[in-house]
Symmetry: D2
Subunit: 383 residues, 4 copies
């Protein structure tokens, strides 16, 4: 089964790392570290192989992929020697990346149609069995609510009138579904999470997944919060401080854009524990961090007889290196779900996300159990 | 159902905190924080209530419980006002504590018989439905292997000859089983983990559980290691440093005794990950830490494309406050298991231990799922 | 030499801890830990003894000191038994605390006159040799500039017209100088740092010191930054995160008030290093922290051949316990300066402050050397 | 002034990094970060320029410098592109490295004579004005005391008899002095710290410095301990945990060799504070750390009224990158001292060492002040 991966933000760090990694792994130049679906438990699930992946995407920047890969190698995100070795293949992918931004004078309907055409054309040109669109672009500010979001009919009517009612991430989801592709939102942006788009996915029989890849601080939170919960240790406060550089750091320096992120990050603890907790989360742009991110969390909790104790952790991760394999995992899983006839939100993929669609489960181990069980179900279905 | 809790090391920090806590909770003077079996999911399991607990035990020291409780209050382990409020009840328990050490001229068989008599007499005098013996004494050095450990017959023969073949923790397990009591080893000592004693427990139809209560660093390890495993992040090294004071710190300053502990602590990571990891563990006696313990762990791991990342955590806990509620939980669970007719090792209690008998499961969430499932099974059985 | 300590915010945590501590030390109930001027090097400087201290002050709250002391004992800031032992003495001090807030209809000139009267009356009633006014009240937002701040004449003219031109901390400094008392600002508020007030201090021959007691994160910064500087390690970023509860936490939850603090905290690193550094500082109100404060700092620096390295520290301190002895030190030092005829800002006291008046020296060890040298100078003057 | 740097352990990480760095800096390919003597305050001291440095040395391994430099580049210690650029120059240095180990049948006197000949020949062949021998080899176990260490006469007599009485580091010091070179011990080994060798240095009019370069955890300790001391905060315990890989990690995995190191590391805190402190130091070999070292320190201290507080820090450094510039600094300073006629131990260089010869000063800032004062003194002497 060949699969087209259409990446929104195709020239960004996450997308480039994912491409370099997929190419390196299939050329035998890298191990499968970090690929969840590389685990033995997924062997029977009929997931499409990385070997059958074909990449394309939208972006608003024009820096060639090979240059981006070199910058990532400089920053220690990908091995030094890989960009040169993979330069030809990256150039071929680059030729399939289309400009994503809105053109002057274009209505939102026109913009969406063009994006959908790009996706459809990619599928046809490459002859892949199916296409998965994955949003790995920059985080948007929280979307303004609009009545046209409430139903597909209302949305189509508004678009037909030339209105611009969708946040850009949702426009991509709309275009994906219109082009017959499934959709994954790796960012905290709105994406497919509008009633109108859920309706469209159902109508087209397409699955979708999201939101906001769980790659660092929140990953650890979702592993630790159940410990406090099952041990009946009462968490009093859980403070998180994140410092990061790169494009992500710059985007999140915008106090409006950061809101989507801190909201998304703040949810899991209280939902796991079942009570409200003082849990401020900060994100600071510290340019010298480059592609690296450090999170410090301080957790105060009350044990037996009210004794107060604390735990702290520091996570020093490379966000793109953590996100990229998950993007490949999600493409495999969502393509397989589409093939197996699943449509709408995929709650079984909550393991990958800070704010999972169709699920309120935030406990990492439980999410993994659900993922594995779902993968076992896939194994029993015809491929 | 009334339950006798016979604590080996009854005047130590853990035992005293457990008693003070149980008395305080049932007097409505303290919340049930830290009590795992206080969770809603255990409500139907037919566990005996704290209200029906009667305490007794062995110890080699004679400092009265009420004094010990005051010292714990000074050290911030139990609330300041409680020791005075509970002084009368603590005095009553104190009267039931028997000297545990070997008397001059006593053979090990004679010692064991006396210990068993004490336990039996406690059960009869208090009229409790059943007795659980819980070892919360100091950590022993690793036991020397001995042929008499291999079977009950060999053990009885050796004892009959006046030989001293059992480590002291195992002598208590032997005495417990001989007195018809179930046994819990909260320390890393040998306890019931000898073929001869497993045979005896089976013969007497008595359940047992252990070893080494999971209260701090290893608890966190067992929550975090599965995160690395399911995310396919390759752990390269996991270094642990523990500093603690109190009696525990002094005991573990003995390089021989500390071996039991560091061995027990070192097991979980490699067993969870499924591969060998450089994982040194240090324990330092730092007297000014008092009843408090600080652990620092440094984890280095390799992600996608071999990118190296790290995580550190610092755990600042009060060991007695973490251990005491688990002692009460284990008494409830093991008493119920005995009532329900279970015998031999109880692998479903792995959640509580660093080195669980009858189980190789170290993943905390999975251990919890197994515990809950087992508790649900208990609910279906007649009480 | 007897000294009157007039504390602005006399019923707050810092003031109460300072009083409890001074009373306890002179009663032989506590050691002199944390008292800088308790060091041997200050023995010859002729500083007034704690034994001769008499306390009074202004406050806007009416909770009796003894109650406040009990709350501090509950929070672990002062030993449990002290408040009861010192209750009578605290009550006597309490009787000397006057309401500080502005009364309805009172002009700022009238308010100032009343405050000055209170201070003068305290000096006369107690017969102390001199009075030092110390501001340990809550942090104010940064003051709005006003033309009347530029000179004493302009200020007096504005006050005479009934205008309210001074921030409240400066009003206290004005009242202190008018009452013949020297002034110490332990907060980041404006206090005596206006040309008009510097002029007044000079005219009255009174010394003053400030601002913003250096008690935790900034203290460590001022010890560490010179290490990076003298080792020529180029600091790229220095991120600070502070979490604290108590009244201080609540005050600093106000985004306006916190500005004075973060500005004051941000200065030292760049001034020590001699170049600009990305150095964001956050302060979060986490009520369960009570009187305790935890700071986490992350420092990234570049060494030889551009190798990037990092250092992190976590400081877990009790702010009132760190501040209180410095308040007593400052009273001793400023009273002695006044006696020795010094007037105006005292740069030699930079060691105590985040944002020292009359000094740009932020290196802790150098500040200490300057303090010691100044104290040696005092020793040579007649007492 | 041209200076010969004769490095004992010339093909090790520290030596190679120092050489690569010196070559890169003088070629304008790298900044002077990390070079203490690059500071403005040393401009007038008449120190020899890096530009006049000529390298040679002893080693027991034969891996060419250029290969070692490549390995260091792989490990992130030196920039990727430098080894290739500097390959020719490194090869020239390599040709000047002589085998250091003892030959079969060679007496210690013979060994010393050969080493001295090598050093003398290097000086003559290169025509440098003077030679400084710097020991950057692996750490030795603590030396066994021997009567022959007590005086030069006793030493010469023992050597003449064919005895092997000197630890290898001391043999290099002896050879250096015999060859008219000054000596710096950057390791905790014995080096010149024997009465016999001090006597020899005096006799030859040669200066020496050491021991044990202060590059990480101890550096931070020496910056922080004075903070606790001057603030009269009573340190109760100061626990240090070090994890490191590389050759250094492997050497220190030897429990005997590590003793020199932990003793050297343990001294500074108690000497600065003036009282004994529980201060265990651990060093663990964790091979995956490569050339990197992480130290975690936990400091517990008592403040006003006995309130207990803590501080922790984590230092993540690249030891070779921290040590290398200090090696160059020391060569400059010691060469200048020799030129200015100083002989014997140089206490003014305590700033660079964990265990400074001729000095008990451990406070970093005070050490820096002494260094600067000494450098100012040099400026006043004829060059």
């Amino acid at each position: 089964m060949s699969t087209g991966l259409w990446l929104v933000g195709a020239r960004g760090s996450v997308a480039t790392t994912a491409m370099v990694g997929a190419l390196a792994v299939r050329a035998g130049l890298a191990a499968r570290n970090g690929l969840v679906t590389g685990g033995r438990v997924f062997e029977e699930a009929g997931l499409p192989a990385l070997e059958g992946f074909v990449f394309g995407g939208h972006d608003v920047v024009s820096l060639p992929l090979a240059k981006r890969a070199e910058a990532l190698a400089q920053g220690g995100v990908v091995p030094r020697h890989l960009p040169a070795v993979l330069a030809d293949e990256l150039e071929q992918i680059d030729a399939r990346i289309r400009p994503g931004g809105r053109r002057e004078g274009e209505t939102q309907a026109g913009h969406a149609a063009r994006l959908a055409d790009d996706i459809r054309a990619f599928g046809e040109a490459t002859g892949v069995d199916r296409v998965v669109v994955l949003n790995v672009a920059s985080t948007e500010p929280p979307a303004e609510p609009h009545p046209a979001h409430a139903s597909l009919a209302a949305l189509e009517a508004a678009l037909a009138e030339g209105a611009g009612v969708l946040p850009i991430s949702s426009l991509y989801a709309y275009a994906a579904f219109r082009a017959g592709a499934s959709f994954v939102d790796f960012t905290p942006s709105t994406g497919a999470r509008l009633p109108a788009l859920t309706e469209l996915a159902a109508q087209e029989g397409l699955p979708f997944a999201g939101s906001d890849g769980k790659t660092g601080e929140t990953l650890v939170k979702s592993a630790l919060a159940p410990m406090f919960q099952t041990r009946e240790l009462h968490v009093q406060s859980w403070v998180g401080m994140n410092i990061l550089g790169g494009g992500d750091g710059a985007t999140l320096a915008d106090p409006h854009a950061v809101l989507s992120k801190t909201r998304s990050k703040g949810r899991s603890v209280a939902e796991t524990l079942g009570y409200e907790v003082v849990a401020p989360v900060h994100i600071d742009n510290v340019p010298d961090m480059g592609e690296w991110k450090t999170a410090w969390d301080h957790i105060a909790f009350e044990g037996f007889l009210g004794v107060r104790m604390t735990m702290q952790f520091t996570w020093q991760g490379c966000d793109s290196a953590l996100a990229a394999p998950l993007v490949l995992d999600l493409a495999r899983l969502v393509a397989r779900a589409a093939q197996a006839g699943e449509s709408g939100p995929l709650p079984a993929l909550a393991f990958f996300f800070k704010d999972p669609v169709g699920s309120t489960e935030h406990r990492l181990a439980t999410q993994y159990d659900q993922l594995v069980e779902w993968a076992r179900g896939l194994a029993r279905r015809s491929a």
